[in-house]
Amino acid sequence: MFTFPSLEWFQELARLMNEHDVPYRRLGYADVRWAVEIQATEPDQLTHLFVFVFEEYGCKSVQACEPDTQPEVAFTMRATLGTWEEMIRNIQKNKGPDLQHTLNYLTLPDDPIYIDAPDFLSRDLFARYGQTFQLFFNGAIQVPTTFTS
């Protein structure tokens, strides 16, 4: 079992990506350094920040960072713990997201997931590699998960 959110949980997603790269190869490579922020909304929760390096068809590294740092990334996907949990549960339940839980759907109105970027062109990398990111999170189907909240 892997706890969400945790470094181990995302490392497991990365492992799945690296060991099952055929669909990623089909989509084409993605070279991008990006981050996920999981925001606390309750006093007993912690905010988490994870930085990913995608290179070619795999995830070269996943790191946990202090939440108040500004990692050098193309963009950060920011959302509350509740939003991430709901998305992951939906992916796991339906063996893939339903229409209301795709990354594109959740980010298009800038809420509940906000794509924060230092520059708008680097923000566009989210759309350029959109299906690669979706496939990465779809890996959650294979990750036995316990949720902290």
């Binding site: 089909r26 989509l27 084409g28 490579y29 070279d31 070619e56 229409l99 795709t102 594109n104 759907y105 298009l108 109105p109 520059d119 708008f120 062109l121 923000r123 566009d124 990398l125 759309a127 350029r128 590699y129 959109g130 299906q131 979706q134």
Partner: protein, 355 residues
């Protein structure tokens, strides 16, 4: 010696069993051994030594000769290239964008689950067919325009030409996939109103490369990218979702191409900003004049609302998307070095907070 005389002299030499081999005394960099990386030998990998030096100005060399070869421009034909400076025809990361485009190609025949299509209610099928007709028209111009400009780019900037070729291929696939969708589910092609055609013709007729990039890549492809991302909301099935998702990735690349080129031009030659601004003035004006016709608006309202009876619901979502298009457009202008907000004619532009 005239070219034909040189050729004749050589033929005679050959007949006498003599060889020349003078071409081996080549005045270009020799001994180059570009090293492949993990993914093979990329364009960046071969930009080594003198071959990787991007010339600032190549207006004295207008032939087919590739960058780094041994040639005398005065001896070679003038192909009339018009984009002969790096400011106009090159930008950082062109080779990376090209490699990415090649790596992320997809097939409208193979990669869309056509066999899962099921009939839609008639109003929804009409709406999707009309949207696909509109997008097919848009994709035609998006391929024709870079096609027209391709032979204006000096060959010294081959990375730019190569990327433009991928854009033409991408747009071909897009028009292919939208035509296929229109004809695959009991509908058919819809109407082509003159307002749409006039708007597209303006892009086609632009004779300034930066203005074309501003109008088509920055303004147009940006709006289309938002539409494609919206596509997931209007999609009624996995076929349409797949189409819009895959097209959005391509469109984002085209947008990056235009933005990176314009950003570099502005850095190198800030005097060209006004030329770009003027193209955007007209683009916005045209959108205000021509962008609201029943054929362009109502299919989206039907698809967003969930049928003719729910078009009011669709209006709300459509208004949000229009605002989003304006916001993203102004953000991109800002990012490439153009302050556009105060000048923008589009509805709501002044109220938008730039990030």
């Amino acid at each position: 010696m005239a070219y034909s005389e040189r050729s004749q002299a050589y033929r005679e030499k050959l007949q006498n069993g003599e060889y020349d081999l003078g071409w081996m005394q080549v005045n270009s960099e020799w001994g180059v051994r570009a090293t492949p990386g993990k993914r093979g030998l990329t364009l960046d990998d071969i930009n080594v030594g003198s071959y990787g030096v991007i010339p600032k100005d190549t207006s004295d060399s207008l032939s087919f000769a590739p960058r780094g070869a041994d040639f005398d421009p005065a001896e070679l034909p003038d192909m009339g290239y018009e984009l002969n400076t790096d400011a106009e025809a090159w930008a950082q990361n062109m080779s990376g964008l090209y490699e990415e485009a090649v790596a992320r190609q997809w097939s409208s025949t193979r990669d869309v689950p056509w066999h899962t299509l099921e009939p839609l209610p008639k109003d929804m099928e009409h709406a999707m067919s009309q949207v696909c007709t509109f997008l097919t028209e848009v994709e035609f111009v998006a391929g024709d325009v870079p096609g027209w400009w391709l032979n204006k780019v000096n060959n010294a900037y081959h990375e730019t030409k190569l990327f433009m070729a991928t854009q033409i291929m991408d747009e071909a696939r897009h028009l292919e996939v939208f035509r296929k969708r229109a004809l695959a589910n009991g509908g058919g092609l819809g109407k082509c109103p003159p307002e749409v055609e006039e708007g597209l013709k303006y892009i086609h007729d632009l004779r300034s490369f930066p203005q074309m990039l501003a109008r088509m890549n920055l303004f147009g492809e940006g709006r289309v990218l938002t539409l494609f991302r919206l596509g997931e909301l209007i999609a009624q099935n996995e076929v349409e979702k797949t189409i819009f998702r895959l097209c959005a990735q391509d469109e984002s690349r085209h947008l990056a191409f235009g933005c990176l080129q314009l950003r570099y031009l502005i850095q190198e030659d800030p005097d060209r900003i006004e030329e770009i601004q003027e193209a955007l003035d007209v683009a916005e004006q045209r959108t205000m004049e021509l962008g609201s016709t029943p054929e362009q608006v109502e299919p989206f309202l039907i698809l967003l609302g969930g049928g003719v009876e729910h078009m009011d619901k669709g209006q709300e979502k459509f208004a949000f998307i229009r605002k989003k298009m304006v916001q993203e457009y102004l953000q991109r202008c800002h990012s490439i070095g153009i302050d556009r907000q105060d000048r923008c004619l589009l509805k709501g532009a002044q109220d938008i907070t730039l990030l």
